[in-house]
C-alpha cells in the first residue's frame, strides 16, 4: 500500500516539477500576449498651453489643450500579417486627436503600428504608416515588452518618424506600484506638416509653398510597470514651432504649440487598476505557478522517498524460533 502511494506521489512530484519550467518558458511566451482586438483610449491634457492662432498667425496662451489617443486592434489584418510573418501579430490603428479649448480640432494624426504580440518587436508590412506616410519602425511605441528590463530601449517617435533611445532613469513607486522611469529627449527637428490642418483651405502643400517649415522638440517621460510593460503614467514637454517663409510675415519663428501634456486623473486611476489586474495574471505565469509547482514538486518527492524508505524497512524483529529441547538421556 505504501509503495503504491509513494509511486503516485512520485508521479505528482514529476508533474509539478515539470510544470514549473514548462509554464515559465513554454506557456508564458504563448499566453502573455497583447489581444489582437484591444481597444483603448487615453486622454491627456496640457493646461496653460501656448497655441497658434491661425487667424492672426500669433501664439496665444489658452486654458487647455486636450489630446485624445485611441488605439484599436484590427483583428483581420493581424491574422493576415501574422500568417505571413509566422508569428502572432497585433495591428493597432491609432489616432492622436488634438483639440483646442474651444473644442475645435488642432490636429489629428492617424497611424498604423504592427508588432509582435508577445515581444513587442516591430513587424513590417504594407500599411505601416504615420499620417499616411509609409514608415518602417524600429524599437517600441506606446508599450514596453513584458518583463521590462532596467536598460535603455529604442523608442519610435511618430512626429519625426525616427527611432532613438529612451533612457532608463531609475526605479520609482507610482500609486503603490513599482515602476521604471524612462525619459527620451527629441531635439529640435524639422517635421512634416500634419495632413489635417485646423483651418479649412490651408493644406500642407500650400504651407510648403510659402517656405514655412514646422519644427518640433519634446521631452517624453514614461512610468512603466515592469511586469506587464505597460506605462501607468506619461507626460510630454511638447514644443512646436513654425519657422521662416512668407507665412510668418517676416518673423523667424512662431510657437505653434507648447505645453506640458499629462494624463488626465481619471485615466491614471483606470490605467493603474487595469495594470494591477494584468500584473497578477502575468505573475501567475512567470512567478507564482513556476515557483509554487517547483516547491510542491520537491515536497511531494521528499514525501514519496520517505514512504518508499518506510515501505522497504523491515517491520521490527522476527519472532525468535523456539528451539526444541535437547533430549535428555539418563
Amino acid at each position: 500500500m505504501r509503495r503504491k502511494a509513494s509511486l503516485v506521489l512520485l508521479a505528482c512530484a514529476v508533474f509539478c516539477a515539470a510544470l514549473s519550467p514548462l509554464m515559465r518558458w513554454y506557456a508564458f511566451p504563448r499566453l502573455a500576449r497583447i489581444p489582437a482586438n484591444q481597444y483603448q483610449d487615453m486622454v491627456l491634457e496640457a493646461r496653460g498651453a501656448t497655441l497658434l492662432d491661425y487667424g492672426t498667425m500669433r501664439a496665444k496662451k489658452v486654458s487647455q489643450v486636450t489630446v485624445v489617443q485611441t488605439l484599436r486592434g484590427d483583428v483581420d489584418a493581424a491574422k493576415r500579417i501574422g500568417k505571413t510573418a509566422g508569428r502572432p501579430v497585433v495591428v493597432w490603428d491609432g489616432l492622436s486627436y488634438v483639440q483646442g479649448p474651444d473644442g475645435k480640432m488642432v490636429s489629428k494624426v492617424p497611424e498604423r503600428y504592427i508588432f509582435d504580440a508577445h515581444s513587442q518587436d516591430p513587424v513590417h508590412a504594407t500599411g505601416e504608416m504615420v499620417d499616411g506616410d509609409p514608415v518602417t519602425r524600429h524599437g517600441i511605441e506606446f508599450k514596453w515588452p513584458f518583463l521590462t528590463q532596467k536598460r535603455d530601449y529604442e523608442y519610435f517617435d511618430a512626429q519625426t518618424r525616427t527611432t532613438s533611445p529612451i533612457h532608463y532613469k531609475g526605479t520609482r513607486t507610482f500609486r503603490g506600484l513599482k515602476v521604471y522611469f524612462f525619459e527620451q529627449t527629441i531635439p529640435w527637428t524639422k517635421v512634416p506638416m500634419p495632413k489635417s490642418m485646423p483651418v479649412q483651405g490651408i493644406t500642407p502643400e500650400s504651407v510648403a509653398r510659402t517656405g514655412t517649415t514646422r519644427w518640433y522638440s519634446t521631452v517624453r517621460r514614461f512610468w512603466v510597470e515592469p511586469v506587464t510593460g505597460a506605462p501607468v503614467y506619461g507626460e510630454e514637454l511638447h514644443q512646436e514651432e513654425l519657422r521662416g517663409g512668407t507665412l510668418l510675415g517676416g518673423r523667424a519663428r512662431v510657437t505653434a504649440f507648447a505645453g506640458d501634456v499629462k494624463m488626465r486623473e481619471d485615466y491614471i486611476e483606470h490605467t493603474v487598476a487595469l495594470v494591477e489586474h494584468n500584473r497578477t495574471l502575468v505573475l501567475m505565469l512567470t512567478s507564482y505557478v513556476p515557483w509554487g509547482s517547483l516547491t510542491a514538486g520537491l515536497l511531494l518527492l521528499a514525501l514519496s522517498l520517505c514512504l518508499e524508505a518506510r515501505a522497504r524497512r523491515p517491520r521490527g524483529p522476527a519472532p525468535a524460533k523456539a528451539t526444541d529441547p535437547e533430549p535428555v538421556s539418563a
Partner: protein, 44 residues
C-alpha cells in the same frame, strides 16, 4: 521500473496540461466596432 513509469506518467501529464492550456490560448475576437475618437470622452 515502476518508479520510472510513474515519473514518465507525471511528465506526460504535465506536457499534456501545458499543451492544452496554450492550445486554448487567448481568443482573438473581432475588431471593435467603436470608432477612433474625435471627441473627448467624459470617463475611461
Amino acid at each position: 521500473m515502476r518508479a520510472l513509469i510513474a515519473a514518465a506518467t507525471g511528465l506526460v501529464l504535465a506536457l499534456a496540461a501545458v499543451l492544452t492550456i496554450t492550445a486554448t490560448g487567448t481568443p482573438a475576437g473581432g475588431t471593435s466596432p467603436k470608432p477612433l475618437l474625435t471627441t473627448v470622452p467624459s470617463h475611461p
